[in-house]
């Protein structure tokens, strides 16, 4: 159900509204932008393609954010352990925080 692939818009069709040419690693195909009418799509944008229709505009910021989160996996735990080890926590709150996790 759902082979959908990210592709880059390389050209908007000047004649047909809601048509564009998308490129996926060097392969080009026309796609229908009819499902993204409410967005402004420009050449250079990345979209998710499914059966010849663009389903969603891909957010570069969210993608980069996700990669960053993944890179930090395990590290935030380690950082918190380290901070705890310094005993800098407020005595009053330490019982609540124990076991809460990040």
């Amino acid at each position: 159900m759902c082979l959908a692939i990210p592709g880059r818009i390389v050209a908007l069709d000047s004649d047909a509204r809601n048509q564009a040419v998308v490129e996926v690693v060097g392969v080009r195909r026309k796609v229908d932008l009819g499902l993204l009418q409410e967005e402004s799509i420009r050449p250079g944008d990345w979209v998710l393609i499914h059966v010849g229709f663009a389903m969603s505009k891909i957010s570069e910021a969210d993608a980069a954010d996700q990669i960053r989160t993944l890179a930090l996996l395990g590290e935030s735990e380690a950082a918190i352990e380290e901070v705890r080890g310094y005993g800098l926590e407020d005595e009053k709150h330490s019982n609540n925080e124990r076991g809460a996790g990040p």
Binding site: L3, V24, R29, H50, G52
Partner: protein, 346 residues
């Protein structure tokens, strides 16, 4: 001595497209119907070419038919395929093609200039491959009965000294070598049919691999255990045939398998696996580990061999299987092709 009547094991009531796709079904047809009736008791593993003794000389002979639509496509055409395909089948069996004979089945209504173009293409390919076209035959069938033209080429060749290609000689630890990027031909044909409305800078890789194999054999000689050209059914099918014939496992490293970007893109869009896609200008070789590096260097030094890679190795377990390992430790089995690779959306 009377040959006992062959007992066929092929149970299917009619022939389907899958029987010609080069995968499991094709193998069932050959092993279940043709082999028992035609090859009698002398059925060992079926290779690309047959080697026969003729007055003390061993000769290789092979035949192949070419059915392709469209006839012409980026990078090549049916005529070229017909020459290179047979030259390659001989080459991977360890033989140098000497002469070919050609048969044409032509559809009435075929424009002469189309035929001429293909015959010229064949002449050119034969010259480049260093092989003589010794003769042939032509038949014409009614309009609608031959998809423009079908070409069959039969080739004979002399064995290249110092090479013996046998699935039985493959050992755990042997390396699997691939001559270059895969998927180009099959994807080119799929896109050339025009139904998918996709464009890409991809062209067929059709070529004679004989020069590469000659240099490989010169360098690695006795270390070359087995070779095959991964045409219909792709690398996956060829290696599964080997795995079945030798009973060992073939482990491939995903990162090492060369695939051109555009081929990768087309495969992603269509949900296809490059390992199942036909190639017309590549070959696989299994090399003894001590000679693997020399073999690779020899290919890199030969024109057209710069993209050769060691893509895997032979192991004991699991028996008779082919699997791919990813760079992050995941693994998956790669099976033989069932029918033609079909684009998918799910």
């Amino acid at each position: 001595m009377a040959t006992p009547a062959g007992k066929i094991k092929f149970r299917e009531p009619q022939i389907e497209m899958a029987h010609g796709a080069g995968g499991i079904a094709s193998r069932r047809l050959v092993e279940g119907l043709f082999a028992p009736l035609l090859f009698g008791s002398a059925t060992g593993p079926l290779g690309d070419a047959a080697h026969i003794q003729l007055n003390g000389t061993r000769i290789a002979v092979t035949t192949d038919s070419f059915v392709v639509k469209p006839l012409r496509f980026p990078g090549s055409s049916i005529g070229e395929l017909a020459i290179n395909g047979t030259v390659n089948d001989l080459a991977v069996s360890g033989a140098r093609a000497e002469a070919l004979v050609v048969t044409y089945v032509l559809e009435a209504g075929l424009p002469t200039d189309v035929l001429e173009a293909e015959v010229r293409a064949m002449a050119g390919a034969a010259e480049r491959a260093g092989v003589r076209i010794a003769g042939g035959d032509t038949k014409v069938v009614e309009h609608g009965k031959a998809d423009n033209m079908y070409i069959t080429t039969t080739g004979i060749g002399r064995l290249i000294p110092g090479v013996s290609v046998l699935a039985d000689s493959v050992r755990p630890g042997d390396k699997v070598l691939l001559s270059g990027p895969i998927g180009d031909h099959g994807v080119t044909i799929l896109l050339a049919r025009g139904e998918l409305d996709m464009e890409a800078e991809i062209q067929s890789d059709s070529r004679s691999v004989l020069p590469l194999i000659e240099d490989l054999v010169k360098a690695a000689g006795a270390g070359v255990r087995w070779m095959r050209d991964p045409t219909r059914g792709g690398v996956a099918t060829s290696l599964n045939e080997l795995a079945r014939d030798c009973g060992l496992a073939i482990a491939l490293f995903e990162q090492a398998i060369p695939v051109r970007d555009a081929v990768r893109g087309a495969c992603e869009l269509l949900g296809l696996d490059p390992l199942h896609i036909a190639n017309e200008g590549q070959f696989l070789a299994v090399i003894a580990p001590e000679q693997a590096d020399i073999a690779l260097q020899a290919l890199h030094a030969t024109p057209g061999g710069s993209e050769a890679r060691i893509i895997g190795e032979v192991r004991e377990q699991p028996p008779a299987s082919v699997f791919v390992t990813t760079s992050y430790g995941g693994a998956r089995l790669v099976d033989m092709l069932v029918g033609d690779p079909l684009p998918r959306i799910c």
